[in-house]
Symmetry: C2
Subunit: 413 residues, 2 copies
């Protein structure tokens, strides 16, 4: 296939893209192909103006009154409802705040406590063996503090590994390294059939594809908002607690923001009802309201269309790589099957004469194609359907082929 | 004393104020007397521009590279060192991130674990009986998860109550309700003499007065940055771990940001050295860098001068109240003794014919004097030496007298 064919095809695909107009709602540098939205989403244009108003008027003029008058106090639940709509959750079950790690702690400890209440001696926490590390570290701490043990198992085996000792299974919906998507409803059903509960980590699926928390029967879920939800660097994470469990949700971090009547300043703790029970301390309002503004880009967006474009983009990128890159230089570790693919493509890139995957990614970035590198040998390319174009996918594959050729030549072939 | 006397005195005091020029560095509405900096500090002018740059250039143009190139990754320690300088701590011991509540959890659990290592069977957590509630709620959770018991004692009695069973004493440096300042070095020494460790909550002292964490021998400290440090609504909190304890600091929230080599993505946890061990997940960068910009106002400020002005302001306000408000209408619950006073004045205000303290504060706010109300009957006025003027104190007392008179009349006297 000549270089002209994918470029022409990209132009045709972009012309037919029903989400193409969304790109204008983001502040992007058109000289750069930004394929790192799976690490840090690009800024929606609405954020800068909203932050200026929050600082200048809400903080500067209204000051302390903004906790009520500007809706700061209720923002974790209000923004939570906006996130809920993007992860298949009805209102009142998602709260935004804290980091993903802190929310993993709340959810795993709460799930273990539910098992303790059930009283059937379950003392095992299953953890996705390939998990993003923080989930494993925090789950181990939760195990230590609740007298449980940790057992790492492959996410693909989670359904059959859950057994009579299992209190909770902590699973990544999409693997951060390979981009593999796991079957949330099926795993959830199997874990529940074994009498255990699930905590889903949605960091790499929220905003990337339809997630069906309510319909899938998930018990708990957590996720970040700075990847496909574009909330800004370190934007606050979220916690989902299924409605049926809210009354029994027993948080290990019962800060004053989760009190039934916070301003009573009661020395005795009484938990709030609903999603607010997942709060802890005072939320970081500037980051939270930047996220709120960032979520405006989802107005009127159909997640099925997002998913269709995501799969078309990753399919197309893989075909471009096949067309441009000499066979054997890279190998996709992202599943071919659509049902098993998130919204990224990970290419294993063996070390060549002039360096390994780290050097290749550094050179890609220098040439205006921004993905990222995960040790030891993975090039990650994230595709954000709201702003990534097919032309970006084509250019990324073309520049990758150039870099791989030049890196080889640079070593004196 | 006629009304003219305090007003004249205020003008003279403001004219002689060595910190008076600092006020210009804040974005304040001159029509309002803002005495709520002990709840939410006013915005330093530098914040808006810095946030615009962080969103537009660092996030928008550099994107993911900003974690290194814009210093985002190291910001929790870097900003931590700036806070450290304001609370009497040498560099490398303070990290910024999470909420005060989450940091109380880390510190109290870590202190209990130190006692466990010591192996002398200490299983008691002393909590300031008048504590801001979240400290008590979180300490109780820490006790539950570590097999300890909680014993509330008056902060003034903490020194003599610490005993052979005590693992840790959690004390508020300044009482949020009364404004009473406790003696950090003396309490710390007494608790240490009893073989226990201290966790100081500096929410109402950091930035309000000199704090001597290192010199006073404090083991742990936490605090917020949105009061006298003016970091913005819900600005991230901080955690101090004394250098000598850092190697044994065993966090209950060992997220990936506290790993010795976070990007190794190692399934096994290995804690970082130094202050970074207190980190958990990805920091909320927008809120963190707003705080960073806000801290610029401290450049060249001598905390001894801040303390001197703080005491002069609260002394003067109390004298103005005495001059303007009929005897018996309000009563100060803030100690007269300078050594026992923070940077606020709390006035108990008995319910009058037309309403109680809540109604009085609401009317004060309507008339441009912003303090706050704490149930059941306390009017709180915070004095931030960097921007509060003596004229503000005089006006606040005068308007308070007017409101109290009108509220009485309004009821038909």
């Amino acid at each position: 296939m000549s270089d002209a064919v994918p470029a022409k095809e990209a132009a045709a695909l972009d012309a037919a893209d029903g989400l193409a107009l969304k790109r204008a709602e983001f502040d992007l540098d058109d000289r750069v192909v930004y394929l790192d939205g799976n690490s840090l989403g690009a800024p929606p244009r609405a954020v800068a103006g909203r932050l200026a108003d929050v600082v200048g008027r809400e903080w500067g003029r209204l000051g302390i009154r903004s906790w009520e008058e500007s809706g700061w106090w209720a923002a974790p639940e209000r923004v939570g409802d906006r996130v809920a709509a993007l992860v298949g959750a009805g209102p009142g079950q998602v709260v935004v705040g804290d980091s993903t790690s802190v929310n993993v702690f709340k959810a795993v400890v709460a799930a273990v406590r539910l098992a303790e209440r059930d009283g059937d001696g379950r003392d095992e926490i299953l953890v996705d063996a390939a998990t993003f590390p923080t989930d494993g570290y925090i789950a181990r701490s939760a195990a230590r503090m609740t007298g449980c043990r940790i057992r790492p198992v492959d996410a693909a085996d989670m359904a059959r590994e859950a057994g009579p000792r299992t209190a909770v299974a902590l699973v990544n919906h999409v693997d951060y390294r390979t981009g593999r998507l796991h079957d949330l409803p099926a795993v959830t059903a199997a874990v529940r059939a074994a009498g255990a509960r699930t905590v889903w980590d949605l960091c790499h699926s929220a905003g990337a594809l339809p997630v069906h928390l309510d319909a899938g029967g998930a018990d708990f879920a957590v996720g970040c908002t700075y990847k496909y939800l574009n909330g800004g660097p370190g934007a606050p994470a979220f916690l989902y607690v299924r409605r049926a469990l809210q009354d029994r949700f027993d948080s290990p971090l019962p800060g004053w923001n989760s009190h039934a009547d916070p301003f009573a300043m009661d020395p005795a703790y009484a938990p709030a009802d609903g999603a607010a029970r997942g709060r802890v301390g005072t939320p970081e309002i500037l980051s939270l309201l930047a996220l709120d503004a960032a979520l405006d880009v989802w107005d009127g967006v159909d997640l099925a269309a997002v998913r269709a474009k995501s799969l078309a983009l990753t399919d197309f990128f893989l075909r471009c790589v096949e067309a441009y890159v000499p066979q054997g230089r890279v190998e996709s570790v992202t599943p071919q099957a659509h049902a098993e693919r998130g919204s990224q493509v990970s290419l294993r890139c063996a070390a060549g004469p002039a360096g390994g995957a780290g050097e290749v990614m550094a050179e890609l970035v220098r040439r205006g194609v921004v993905g990222d590198f995960r040790r030891p040998d993975v090039l990650r390319f994230g595709f954000t359907p709201l702003y990534t174009r097919f032309a970006d996918a084509e250019r990324a594959a073309r520049v990758l082929a150039d870099v791989l050729a030049d890196v080889g030549e640079g070593a004196g072939r």
